[in-house]
C-alpha cells in the first residue's frame, strides 16, 4: 500500500545516535547530515534547521533526481527517527492516508461475542471501536510515533481536497478520531513534502511550509556527493563523470540528468571495471544518464573528449 515505516537507515550508525537531539545551528545540521551521507548546501541546511525549530514542513521542489525524496531519509538517519512515507496519488483520501477501521476483524469480534452469548450491549459496542481495530495509515503513525520523519511524496499528484485535509493536519498536528478522541503530537514530526509541479499546489499549503527549490549542484558539491555515495569508485573516474554530466546539463536537453543519474553512471562505469573515462566508453554507456533518444543524439554530436581533456588540463 501507500505507507511504510522503516527504521533509520543502516548508515546512520553511531554518529547519529550519539548526536541525537535537536541541532542548534544550521552548520550542525549540515555536519550531521553529512555523517549520514547526505551533502547539503547552506540554504538546505538552514531550511532543515528551521523546520526542526519552527516545526514547519519543508516544501521541496526541483527537477527529478536532485535529492528531494532522499532528504527525508537523511533527516530520519540524522535524528535516529523512523521514516514514515506517504506516497500521494490521484484519489487518495483520509482512509488511505490517516486511519481506517478494520471492518472484517470487527465483524469477527461481533460474531464471536454473539456465539459466546455476550449480553452487555454497550460494552460490546465500546469494544468494537477499540484501538486494536484501528488501522493506522502513515499520517496517524507519524503523529503517534515520536519523534518521526514524515515524507509526503509527490503531493502534486493528490487532489485539491486532499491538500486541504493535509493543511489542516500540518497546522494542528492533531487528529480527531470520532470514536476515540483527539490524538495530538507533543513532538510534531519533521515533515518533508515534495512536488514535481505537475500541478500548482495550493498557496495556503505552501504558506504553511518553508519553500526550498533544489538546484542542480555545482561541480565541487556534485563530485563530493558522488565520492561519498560511491567511495569505491576511483577519484579520477568520479571527477570525469561529474564533469561530463555538468557539461551535458548546460546543453539543451529534453531531460537534463540529475545527481541520481550521475551516481548511476559512475556506478555503471565502475561495474564495467573502468577507472578512467574516454569518449568511446562514455558514448557506449550514455544510457545511464540520458533517457531520450534526442538527448543521446545530441550528446553524440558533442565533442566529449574535449570536455574530458579540459577537465584533465584543469585538474
Amino acid at each position: 500500500m501507500s505507507g511504510t515505516a522503516t527504521g533509520p537507515t543502516g548508515e546512520a550508525g553511531d554518529g547519529a545516535r550519539r548526536a541525537a537531539g535537536p541541532p542548534d545551528s544550521p552548520d550542525e545540521v549540515r555536519r550531521r547530515l553529512e555523517n549520514v551521507g547526505y551533502l547539503v548546501d547552506e540554504g538546505l541546511a538552514t531550511a532543515c534547521f528551521l523546520a526542526l525549530r519552527l516545526h514547519r514542513p519543508v516544501f521541496c521542489e526541483g527537477d527529478a533526481g536532485v535529492g528531494k525524496t532522499s532528504l527525508a531519509g537523511a533527516l530520519a538517519g540524522m535524528l535516529g527517527a523512523p521514516l514514515i512515507r506517504l506516497q500521494c496519488y490521484e484519489g487518495i483520501d483520509a482512509s488511505q492516508a490517516l486511519y481506517d477501521w478494520d471492518f472484517p476483524r470487527q465483524l469477527l469480534h461481533l460474531r464471536a461475542a454473539e456465539a459466546a452469548g455476550v449480553t452487555d450491549v454497550e460494552g460490546l459496542e465500546a469494544e468494537l471501536y477499540d484501538r486494536r481495530f484501528l488501522v493506522e495509515r502513515p499520517l496517524l503513525q507519524a503523529l503517534r510515533i515520536q519523534p518521526s520523519v514524515l515524507l509526503v511524496d509527490e503531493v502534486d499528484r493528490a487532489d485539491d481536497e486532499f491538500e486541504a485535509f493535509l493543511l489542516e493536519l500540518l497546522s494542528e498536528y492533531s487528529v480527531t478520531v470520532p470514536e476515540l478522541g483527539t490524538l495530538r503530537a507533543t513532538t510534531p514530526p519533521v515533515v518533508v513534502l515534495t512536488s514535481n509541479r505537475t500541478r500548482e499546489v495550493h498557496d495556503a499549503l505552501k504558506r504553511r511550509c518553508l519553500y526550498h527549490w533544489f538546484d542542480h549542484p555545482g561541480f565541487a558539491r556534485e563530485l563530493a556527493i558522488v565520492r561519498s555515495r560511491l567511495p569505491a569508485v576511483s577519484a579520477r573516474l568520479a571527477e570525469q563523470v561529474t564533469a561530463l554530466v555538468q557539461a551535458l546539463r548546460s546543453e539543451e536537453l529534453v531531460k537534463p540528468p540529475g545527481v541520481a543519474e550521475t551516481i548511476d553512471w559512475a556506478e555503471a562505469l565502475d561495474a564495467l571495471g573502468a577507472t578512467e573515462l574516454d569518449a568511446e566508453l562514455a558514448v557506449s554507456t550514455l544510457g545511464s544518464v540520458l533517457k531520450y533518444r534526442e538527448d543521446t543524439e545530441r550528446a553524440r554530436s558533442m565533442d566529449l573528449s574535449a570536455v574530458l581533456a579540459l577537465r584533465a588540463a584543469g585538474a
Binding site: 547552506e42 528551521l50 519552527l54 526550498h212
Partner: protein, 382 residues
C-alpha cells in the same frame, strides 16, 4: 554593517519591497520570517537571505525577483552562491500592456470583418492601437461574451481514472460490503460493488498573443476564460491556460476571476508580450520543460490557438511538436486563418507543426470555437 540591525522595521520594509515586486509576502509569511531569524540568532547576511527565501517565496518564479529585491534592499553584495537552474532565454522585455480606455474608431472595418460569421470573434479596429483596451467593452462585445459563456464548457474527453466509485456493477467492494453487514449486526446481506470512475481529461490551451494574432487574441482569451469556468459541477484545475508570444505566461490563475472583464484585465497585467513576435518553438519547449513533461501535458488534450507564423527556427518547432504529440493524448491546432478562402498551411511554422497535430480546425468565429469545443470533447474528429 548590515542594514539588518535596524530591527524588525527594516525587515518588514523588506517584505513590503517584496510585495511591491509581486511576491505574496503576506503577514503570516512575514511573521514566519521574523521567527526564523529569531531562531537563527545573530543576524548574518546569508541567514537573512536564506530565512527570507525559505519563508517568503512560494515558487521557482519568485526566486529571481527575491534575489533582485534582496540585492536592492540590502546592497548589491553577492549572496551565497545558489546557481539558478537554467538561465532564462534572453528575451528583451517588450513594453507592458497598459490598460486604459481608448476611443473606438467607427467604421474602417477590415476585410475579415465583412466575412459572415467571422465578425463576432473579431476585434474592433480600435485595437490596432498599440495599447489595446480590455477594460472598456461595447455592448456588442458583452453580448458576445455572454454567448461564449453560455456556449462553452470545454470538457476534455473522458478517461478512466484510478479512482473507484460505488457502482451497480463491477467488482465487489469489500469495505462497503462489510461495513453494511456490520450495521446489520453481522448479518450477510447485499454485496456492494464498485467500478472505475470516469473523469474528463485535462485541457491545456496555448493561446498565441503575438502581433499577427492580435485581432483574435482577445476573443480567444475570452474563450479560454469561458473554457476554464466550466459548468457549476466542474472542478477547477481541469483546464490550464498559457499565453505564448516571445514569452510563455501561465494565466490560469489570472483567469480565475468569475467576471470575464476582471479576468481579462488580470491577464493583461500578467502578460508582458502582447503583440510582439512569436517564437513558438522556443515557447513550446519552455512549456514542455517546465510543465508539460512533468505531467501537465501527459494524457491531456492540448489545444494550440495560433496562426503558425513562426519567427524562430521551424525545425525546432517541429521537434517540440513531436515531443508534445508523444506526451499528450491529443493535440488540436486551431488556426483562425484556416477559414480564409484559398488557405494553405504555408507558414513555415504551421507546415512544420502539422505532422504532429491530430486535429486541425478553424478558430475564427463563435461557430468555429464551438466546433473546437466539440473536438476537444471527443465528439467528432476533424
Amino acid at each position: 554593517m548590515t542594514a539588518v540591525d535596524g530591527g524588525a522595521a527594516v525587515l518588514v520594509g523588506f517584505a513590503r519591497a517584496l510585495r511591491a515586486a509581486g511576491l505574496d509576502a503576506g503577514p503570516d509569511r512575514v511573521q514566519t520570517f521574523l521567527r526564523a531569524l529569531d531562531v537563527l540568532g545573530p543576524r548574518r547576511r546569508t541567514d537573512v537571505y536564506w530565512a527570507g527565501r525559505l519563508t517568503l517565496c512560494g515558487g521557482q518564479d519568485d526566486l529571481d525577483r527575491y534575489d533582485r529585491v534582496f540585492a536592492g534592499y540590502f546592497g548589491p553584495r553577492a549572496w551565497p552562491e545558489g546557481p539558478r537552474a537554467r538561465p532564462l532565454p534572453p528575451a528583451p522585455p517588450p513594453p507592458r500592456l497598459v490598460v486604459r480606455p481608448t476611443d473606438r474608431v467607427p467604421g474602417g472595418a477590415r476585410e475579415e470583418d465583412r466575412r459572415p460569421g467571422a465578425a463576432a470573434a473579431l476585434a474592433s479596429p480600435a485595437e490596432v492601437l498599440r495599447h489595446r483596451d480590455v477594460a472598456a467593452l461595447t455592448a456588442a462585445e458583452r453580448d458576445q461574451v455572454r454567448r461564449l459563456l453560455a456556449a462553452f464548457s470545454l470538457r476534455g474527453e473522458p478517461r478512466r481514472s484510478a479512482r473507484l466509485r460505488p457502482a451497480r456493477r463491477g467488482v465487489v467492494d469489500p469495505r462497503r460490503t462489510v461495513r453494511d453487514w456490520l450495521r446489520r449486526g453481522g448479518e450477510p446481506a447485499r454485496l456492494r460493488r464498485r467500478a472505475r470512475a470516469e473523469r474528463p481529461r485535462r485541457v491545456v490551451l496555448l493561446v498565441d498573443v503575438s502581433g499577427s494574432m492580435a485581432a483574435y487574441a482577445d476573443a480567444l482569451l475570452r474563450f479560454a476564460h469561458a473554457a476554464a469556468h466550466r459548468g457549476p459541477a466542474g472542478s477547477r484545475s481541469a483546464t490550464e491556460v498559457f499565453t505564448v508570444g516571445t514569452r510563455l505566461t501561465r494565466v490560469t490563475a489570472a483567469l480565475e476571476h468569475r467576471d470575464p472583464d476582471a479576468a481579462l484585465a488580470a491577464v493583461a497585467a500578467a502578460v508582458p508580450d502582447w503583440r510582439g513576435g512569436t517564437r513558438l518553438g522556443e515557447m513550446l519547449r519552455a512549456f514542455l520543460d517546465r510543465w508539460g513533461q512533468r505531467g501537465m501535458a501527459r494524457g491531456a488534450v492540448v489545444v494550440v490557438l495560433s496562426d503558425g507564423w513562426e519567427r524562430g527556427d521551424p525545425a525546432l518547432l517541429a521537434a517540440q511538436m513531436r515531443r508534445l504529440h508523444r506526451l499528450a493524448h491529443r493535440v488540436v491546432w486551431a488556426n483562425p486563418r484556416k477559414a480564409r478562402p484559398g488557405y494553405a498551411p504555408l507558414a513555415a511554422g504551421m507546415a512544420a507543426a502539422l505532422p504532429s497535430v491530430d486535429a486541425f480546425v478553424e478558430g475564427h468565429s463563435l461557430a468555429a470555437l464551438e466546433h473546437l469545443a466539440a473536438v476537444v470533447r471527443g465528439a467528432e474528429d476533424a
